[in-house]
Symmetry: C2
DNA sequence: ATCGTTCTTGTAATCGTTTACAGATCAGAC
DNA sequence: GTCTGATCTGTAAACGATTACAAGAACGAT
């Protein structure tokens, strides 16, 4: 026995399918009609089929959030923020994960044309022309949480990495650290390149020269630890490390501990993202808050606004960072 | 200009919609026909509408994974495992988050009748008769990653918490710890009650009496820290703490550190789940591996099998735990 | 040349909704 | 009693795909 359809409800209630549909969608109907339909719906346990509905009305009332790595706690923060906004607007949020490489992301964006959802928030790790093109041509609105060139003409919400780096470097200066090393993620990623430039500029602005700079394989704990090892083997005398995200920072801290170096006494460590992990790590990690929650919120709002009115000019929002000082520095 | 439909492709190629559909679905066709269709598809950038398709064929080729809290790293592990299995089988995985209370879960299960996906893996925090009923009556196959009564007659994959507790307690014994406290999550949750019983039994089996037992507000870091505070204020002389999951354990470790107690020298700490956090915490956390990756994998396999054949008798799989000994004990 | 197969293609019905349109009903006003 | 509007309800046509069925083409065998 398969699911009851609207026709079955109509039959059971002795009315037409149109009337059932109307009652269910809150259109005006007599009390008697509404009552009969409700009774039949309850009796049969009828639930409307969203596929058929969205085929007809052209909307799914679902929104998609695509992230590269669910293991990265910064995405958890963003996810929660997005979820809150879109569910308040009556949408269902579904999360999918893209792989680490840009081809996966392009496939996902292209796939949106199949009508899975009414909109997409994507936080791409790597961006190339293909991806930009796929976003521009996408049949549903797309908001990028991250950095794409202005000429792409898409709604974006991004962090201000350079400013964040400045906060980190200045904080180290006021705490008298001068031999600063930088542990980045892969430089061929969007955050990787932004943070590399941010770091260089921030150091220059403060008339400091980096003692070392390494790039981890990816933005994970294990990669951070490996990068930390490399760093400490090659470069003696480091008194501070800035890492491109919290996972890398925690990896570095483990490597420091393994070598008997104390944080913050011997080496100060600063992460970025100010994710839950920063608070959970030991010692608690000083971290640059790049506003991931706010980015998520704004991105969701931008998406809703564009769904509302597709002709509005694309906006590019920049969220300002702040520094969460904890015990690691 | 809206998305091209199969009719537009047919027109452009000068063939019928049926032929386009056949070519796209790999049914036999002449080379000439295939070529014309492919050319038209490429030219128009046609992408089939999954809503229409799944309305007709009655399948969406999507599967849903529902978890209570994306911030809990154990779900990350599960998610990855599920993703791997289902995508290998040609399904798209979408993740949704339920709230912490059972009503949200029931709503989600009921909502599956709308046809969002072909199946559901749900890992419920709390289970009641309503939820069981909704699962039994659900129009699509549901696999529970967690514990529901056998009489419910649903496919389940669950951890063996009692056995896991035994591993933890025995490990503490061999390392000469006797004053063992237990930090649980809410006891009205499925894992909470299972672990409470597991702990009690494991202690009894080893002729130990717990020095203290507290229940945190929920399974989060902050709650763990608060529970740790309560514990340490009320009970002096503890030399080991078992926590019901890694987040709680890390919270307790922070509270220990705040009071100048060293881990493991003064107090040994053992977590459960063996999530990424266990490895990342400092000192690295000894944790009971409850097989979350395997649970995810098996749950996904069970779901696929049931989609294949809905008449098979429900299976209840139990995954065996192991202990990952690290430096916190 | 005719017939029977087989293979390819097109027509049209269908999935479960929503909604434009038209028909029915009813109340109120004259 | 008839007419006008307003209001409610039903019929049927979409939405964009798949697929049963039938018709047509091609081809070899007789």
């Amino acid at each position: 026995m398969s699911r009851p359809t609207i026709a079955a409800v109509a039959r059971a209630a002795g009315v037409s399918v149109a009337s059932v549909s109307r009652v269910l969608n809150g259109l005006p109907a007599t009390a008697e009609m509404a009552e009969r339909v409700r009774r039949a719906v309850a009796e049969l346990g009828y639930v409307p089929d969203s596929r058929a509905r969205s085929l007809k009305v052209g909307r799914t009332f679902q929104l998609t959030l695509a992230v590269a790595d669910v293991g990265n706690p910064v995405y958890v923060t963003m996810m929660r923020a997005v979820e809150e906004v879109v569910s308040a607007a009556g949408y269902r949020l579904v999360v999918t994960t893209t792989g680490p490489d840009v081809a996966d992301e392009v496939a996902l964006v292209r796939g949106m044309a199949r009508g899975y959802a009414d909109g997409l928030v994507i936080s791409p790790l790597r961006v190339d022309d293909d991806l930009i093109k796929s976003i521009q041509e996408c049949d549903v609105p797309v908001v990028v949480a991250g950095n794409v060139p202005a000429r792409a003409g898409v709604d974006t919400v991004r962090a201000n990495s350079p400013k964040g780096m400045l906060l980190a470097v200045e904080h180290l200066l006021t705490t008298k650290r001068h031999k600063v090393a930088f542990v980045n993620g892969p430089v061929d990623t969007v955050p990787g390149s932004a943070r590399a430039k941010g770091f260089t500029d921030a150091m220059k602005a403060n008339k400091l020269t980096p003692v070392a700079e390494v790039a981890a394989e990816d933005f994970t704990f294990a990669a951070g630890r490996a990068a930390g090892r490399e760093l400490l083997e090659d470069t003696p005398g480091i008194d501070a490390v800035i890492a491109a995200n919290d996972l890398l920072a925690v990896g570095v801290m483990h490597e420091l501990a393994a070598r008997g170096l104390r944080v913050p006494d011997d080496v100060a460590v600063i992460g970025m993202d100010d994710s839950a992990l920063a608070e959970q790590s030991f010692p608690p990690l000083t971290s640059v808050n790049l506003g991931s929650a706010e980015r998520g919120r704004r991105a969701a709002e931008l998406l809703l606004a564009r769904i509302e009115d597709d002709s509005r000019t694309p906006r590019r929002i920049v969220v300002q960072p702040s520094l969460s000082v904890r015990r690691s520095s």
